[in-house]
């Protein structure tokens, strides 16, 4: 296994790359138009799918929005860097994060059957506090924009690695393509196209990975033998370096990425009530094989003794590099690119759909409740474009978006414990909730920058949780969770979205 034998497959032209990117979009655009005509009559359908999503589409869409383009490549990259320990620390918390939603989703779906957004829950849970709701809304918006830009970045890495496309052009083409079809059917489009994308993320991915091993003389045995020869620790799951290097912080980050993300809460309220538990259970469990499958490419990177310099400096490119250089048939290379594009498109349209629900419910309906259905419908749609444009502008500016990543990460981590406590612990009060978030940011963020991710993350979690508990002790009050149910009727009046067929 000599890395000099890895030569880029000829024929991977930029034209082919653009054709793939736009071709998928055109197909989804046709599908979206059909969905719009058949299933979307008003804003209620657009943002919550009339609460009629079943188990199949539910599982498909949750897996598709959780499978980020970057995650597809990161599973290979973490294996490449840390061996099986890296893969385990990347994979295990990923699926668990989805399943961790179950108890929270059950409570809120029971208490707020007519809910739309997690910010709206905060608004009602904390005595119609605009500050509490604002903190949550801001976190959700930051999260959505980050999701979009990270996936844009991931896709541009793949398209530039495989097809030598200018990454800036790839970024623009991607966002235009996704938003063009997302514009039509809203959540229903996101759910139905996302479910198709799960096929792409699973079957072609499995075939490509097995094909790659089939091309290597000696197959899996030779690869694993070379990995063991490079360093036996690569084949162990007990390497503590992976845990402390990224695993523990990633685990909390992933948990925050689900619990503090409207993309998933939108699904909680859009899926039929009797399928919510099962959907998140199945989605979490069935997600696991995807990164495990793609992570095997990282072992090949180790076996070939590749270095970051060999693959362009960024280890996330190890998967695309191997697939495009090992001599796979043309069609399988295209299949791999489709895996990445599917992951990217489904996450961006899911995030855009989540953003549309935030704008409709937490901004327009709250601050301008008299907005007409027609106006609301258009504002909701335009908000998806605005979110996409902001993300593209950040990516194209070439700015180091580390600060945005850090801010969003800190916001999501700081809100994680207070939000969970607000759902499960009736003694959580407004001061504790807001104070927990604010204090953990003010103290935790500098600690994060000075002492690194592990200390920073644990500090933010500890401070936010402790503040909520201390506030509950100092100002004891018990929130009657039944009030949420009582407010549901009021909620239905507040967020009255009448049928507007023909809008």
């Amino acid at each position: 296994m000599d890395k000099s034998s890895l030569i880029v497959t000829p024929g991977l032209t930029p034209f082919l790359g653009y054709s793939l990117m736009i071709g998928i979009g055109v197909i989804f655009l046709v599908l979206a138009n059909l969905i719009k005509n058949a299933l979307v009559r008003n804003t209620h359908d657009f943002i919550i799918a009339n609460r009629r999503i079943g188990l199949g589409f539910g599982v498909g869409t949750v897996i598709s929005v959780w499978t980020w383009a970057m995650a597809v490549m990161m599973s290979s990259a973490m294996t490449f860097k840390w061996g099986l320990s890296g893969l385990a620390w990347f994979v295990v918390p990923n699926g668990f994060a989805i399943m961790a939603m179950i108890p929270l989703a059950r409570i809120l779906r029971r208490r707020m059957p007519e809910g739309y957004t997690i910010s709206d829950f905060a608004y009602r849970r904390f005595g119609r506090s605009n500050v509490a709701a604002g903190v949550v809304t801001l976190t959700m918006i930051f999260g959505v924009i980050l999701e979009i830009l990270i996936n844009l970045k991931g896709t541009s890495v793949v398209m530039s690695t495989v097809f030598s496309i200018d990454w800036k052009v790839a970024t623009v083409v991607t966002i235009v393509t996704v938003l063009a079809y997302s514009y039509f059917g809203g959540l229903w489009t996101s759910v139905m196209t996302g479910t198709i994308n799960t096929w792409t993320i699973t079957v072609p991915a499995a075939i490509v990975v097995v094909a790659v091993f089939s091309l290597i003389p000696g197959g899996a045995h030779a690869v694993v033998g070379k990995v063991a020869a490079a360093n036996p620790a690569y084949l162990s799951m007990t390497n503590p370096d992976a845990a402390f290097g990224f695993g523990i912080t990633l685990a909390f980050g992933l948990l925050a990425s689900v619990v503090a993300d409207q993309t998933f809460w939108q699904k909680v309220w859009a899926i039929r009530a009797n399928q919510v538990t099962r959907t998140f259970m199945w989605a979490g469990a069935l997600f696991y094989p995807i990164p495990i499958c793609l992570g095997m490419l990282g072992l090949i990177g180790i076996a070939y003794r590749l270095t970051p310099a060999d693959i362009g400096g960024d280890i996330v490119a190890v998967g695309p590099y191997i697939v495009s250089h090992i001599g796979l048939p043309f069609v399988l290379i295209i299949a791999y690119v489709l895996v990445i594009l599917a992951a990217c498109y489904s996450t961006i349209d899911g995030a855009s759909s989540g953003l549309s629900s935030i704008v409709a419910i937490d901004i327009v309906k709250r601050f301008a409740p008299g907005t007409s259905e027609r106006t609301l419908f258009y504002i909701t749609k335009v908000s998806m474009f605005v979110g996409g444009l902001i993300a593209v502008a950040i990516v194209l500016s070439g700015a180091d978006f580390t600060s945005l990543v850090l801010t969003t990460y800190t916001l999501k981590t700081s809100i994680l414990v207070p939000l969970i406590l607000a759902i499960v612990w009736p003694r959580t009060n407004t001061i504790g909730f807001i104070g927990g978030v604010v204090l953990s940011i003010l103290i935790g963020m500098p600690l994060h920058q000075i002492y690194g991710e592990l200390v920073g993350t644990l500090s933010i979690l500890g401070i936010s949780g402790a503040t909520v508990v201390i506030a509950a002790v100092l100002r004891p009050a018990r929130f009657d969770m039944g009030n949420l149910t009582a407010q549901a009727e009021q909620s239905a009046v507040d967020i009255q979205i009448p049928d507007a067929t023909g809008v």
Binding site: R52, A88, V203, A205, A285, L286
Partner: protein, 100 residues
């Protein structure tokens, strides 16, 4: 073409058939549902299924599948095979939905 590649391709094809069949059933159900409900939302009862044990099992199983790769190289192919199972299960979910 190696036996592993042929096997995974066959399983992939079978899973795809189930997925496509399920997808069409799901899409048809959604359309029928929409026509029947016509903007009326039917509130169904919450599913009371227990989930703690399956969650623990799923988490442990994922770790075991990864660990097995270090024990025997043949398990490199288990991940791709399970990815195919994921697709098949999504197809199955469309049928299971109405039965539950």
């Amino acid at each position: 073409m190696t036996p592993a590649f042929i096997t995974i391709s066959i399983f992939g094809f079978l899973a795809t058939v189930l997925f496509v069949a399920g997808y069409f059933r799901g899409a048809t159900s959604a359309l029928t549902d929409r026509q029947q409900s016509h903007s009326q939302t039917t509130i169904e009862r919450e599913n009371k299924a227990r989930y703690a044990v399956p969650v623990v099992f799923a988490v442990a199983a994922s770790a075991v599948v990864i660990a097995l790769v270090g024990l025997n190289p043949i398990f490199v192919y288990l991940g791709p095979l399970l990815a195919i199972v994921t697709n098949a299960m999504i197809g199955f979910a469309f049928f299971y939905d109405r039965e539950s």
